[in-house]
Amino acid sequence: MNQIILSLGFGLVTASILAMGAVGFTLQFGVTNLFNLAYGETMTVAAFVTYYTHVDMGWNFWLAMTAGAVGGMLLSYVIGRFIYMPFLHRGTSQFAMVMVTVAMSIILKNVMQIFSGATFYSFALGPEKPVHVLGMDFTPRQLAIMGIAVACMLGLHLLFRYTRMGKAMRATSDDSSLARSVGIPTTRIVGLAWMASGLLAGLAGIALAMDLGTFDTNFGSSFLLIIVAAAVFGSVGEPYGAMVGALVIGIASELAAIISPDLKNVVAFGLLVIVLLVRPQGLRSGRVQMRMDVAG
């Protein structure tokens, strides 16, 4: 029982990281309908920016973390604006677009490798004393990760619900040509979606590196499929679904780790495959729901 509650704690931390990653992934997918397999590299780049500013330049960690997140945001925007969108505007086919994102992932990963080598890096944050909360153990760092994730989700909720920009984003995600015809500047919205997505990817990457302790050039892309699992679980293109997906995948994989650590990814991947096969539209077939919200 104790072990289960303890694992539930780990699950909540993983879910927090996943939530940021999955919502960012799904937001970008919803608006551009692009399955971006280079998303993991945005996470890695953000972690490296944080490392560089914190360890090499001696910035305060939280400042460095902000720098990393902004780095992720800019990278995501630049790739979206100058690589993906031109291809999409040309009418590049869906499968060719997947190749474009794979190519981008390979380029980013290997360029990072040229500078960083194949070694592991650490933010060198030092050990911390765990805090007990309801039978679960968290380090202050993990509490911070959960706090950031909750703040992000709340912020997104307010953005979607109450701001014109958020509603416009969801309308574009729902039906971009309809959105354009009612006067929503979709190009700007798409740009904003790339930035928001990159920001979330960056935060997820940095949080993952904090939680794991070390990272290398591969760590973002190896986590990507678990993020995709969470996003798909909650129906791709649906931010609220992605949050639910993150919770389910995060907790389920940590619980499975009680039995064997090898099972962690197997459970996440298993869920991904099952959802893609059985209900590719995800748990909430949320698109119509979304349209109603915007109209109402």
């Binding site: 399955f35 690589i83 031109p86 291809f87 590049t92 869906q94 499968f95 060719a96 677009m97 997947v98 190749m99 474009v100 794979v102 190519a103 981008m104 992932s105 390979i106 380029i107 990963k109 290997n110 360029v111 490798q113 040229i114 080598g117 194949a118 499929l225 995709v228 798909v232 090898d262 990814n265 197997v266 991947f269 991904l272 495959v273 893609l276 096969l277 590719p280 077939s285 698109r287 119509v288 729901q289 349209r291 109603m292």
Partner: protein
Amino acid sequence: MSAAVISYLISLLVYLGVNSIAAWALNLQFGVGGVMNFAFILYQAMGAYITAVLTLPKSTVIGDQTYILGLSWPWPLPLLGAAVAGGLLSLAVGSFALRPRRRDFQATVMLVVSIIAETLVVTQPHWFNGNQGLYGIPQPFAARLALDPNGYGWFFVGLTSVSALLVLLIVFRLTNSPWGRRLRAMRENADAIESLGTNSRAESLKVYVVGGALAAISGGILVEFIGAWSPAAWGTGETFIVFVAIIVGGLGNTFGAFMGALLVLGVFLELPTYLPQFASANTEQSLQAASIGVLILIFLWLRPQGIFPERRRKLADQVPGSTGAGSQADTITLATTRHNFTTGADGDASDALTVRDLAKEFGGVRAVDGVSFSLPVGKITGLIGPNGAGKSTALKLIAGAEKPDAGQILLDGKDMAGWPSYKVARLGLIRTFQHTSEFGRLTVLENLLTAGPAQPGDSIGGALLGKRHARKRQQELLGQAWTLLEEFQLTSHADLYAGQLSGGQRRLVEIMRALMAAPRILLLDEPLAGVNPTLRLVIEDHLKRLRDEGLTMLMVEHELGAVERVCDSVIVMAQGKVLASGGMVELRKNEEVISAYLVG
């Protein structure tokens, strides 16, 4: 030449053979069939493992390796076993991975499968000796021939060449057959090929299995040459290299795939070893990988069709008697060959199709709300109504493109409600699309041929028998297609890609293609939209003639003038319901109909 140079040349040739087979296999799946196999390397690896354990003696004999089987089979049985294993594995994976409709979802599932398989091989060391991998795999005939290393090398080059040529023959026949044409059509537009009676998931699975078997052979030859195989040899990144080869070479082009394999091997894998080293080995490797990524982007931007684009298959000069007035075949035979209706239990003998209480809801909106009507045999029934009335949805429900929530669709006394579109099409109910759905990178003639029923070369077995086997039927269909092209005045465009035609011409292609399928009932979704006035009249005349020949039609159309000229009776829909039906003349006076149009 020194012995070292010769030995290097030998290994280059063997690698070229192996990589070519791999490229051909992936090209068949992805270039021709549009199936994105992101687990490709898994099948090559599986072939290598199975070849190894079929060639090696029992695991206990060699000592510190553990593995399954160990059957000491003689060449070429291990390769055949590998092909079977690769095919079976593809069948197992493909039967679920090909379920999602989006190709990127399929690719994601395959990527996951590939990663899970890698984990399994590592964590189950009794299968293929885990992370250490298998080694000491005897080379075919090496012991018996007792040649010097390079002499044996040349012998192995010979074995590889024979295998590669065999694979080439298989791939060539499959690609250039009616079955290959169907695969290319599926790649271009899966919905459209389904509407012509093809179960696209089944065809995808077939090409996935064939490709998986061929990939396994390439892995088998590789392991026979190098004598060892371990998880390090097949990272998921290796899949990408094969994709690069076929994209650069030219998707869908068999020769292009070979040249792509040569190029990738030469320029990216071998050339760097001759360049002066300017950085650490790791850095050079990263640079190499990054430049492969850049190359992909450059190609997809500047030349997405590759260096050797898919060949345009010109067929016009094969049409029997195409150069004269020899259009002896008449469309009459087309329309009436399948025109025999059996009446349902309580159906009227004069109705070809009966729809009862059909309903479909999209997220709370009742697009079709309890619609009932019949299509009289040999008549054109119009389906009109304001935007959003549910006309197109009703047509899609009948054609099987959408599943109805409730209601019956009766043909021959059978309720087809909920059938997939390919099954509906096989009963002779053929539709056209609101948005033109031509197969863009097939020629106009090829577009028409894809719809032709009963083609001997339209299966893997038939395709392997070669062109001669399929020629007779092909000639018949070409004759029929040419007659249609003459009537629609498109003979000069016969050998152009359908994607190059104007919107109106593409619509004609679609109508002709539907007619080639010898329909009993034709469902036309706005056949006149985007067609210029002259062509409209041609289409209208043609529809009337087909009607006179006995073809039953349902036509969704906005232009009321055309409906009045063409349709025998008209059904008016508004807000998902049938508002009225009858002749156009009476309907024009119907207050309800008028207000529905004005309000809608």
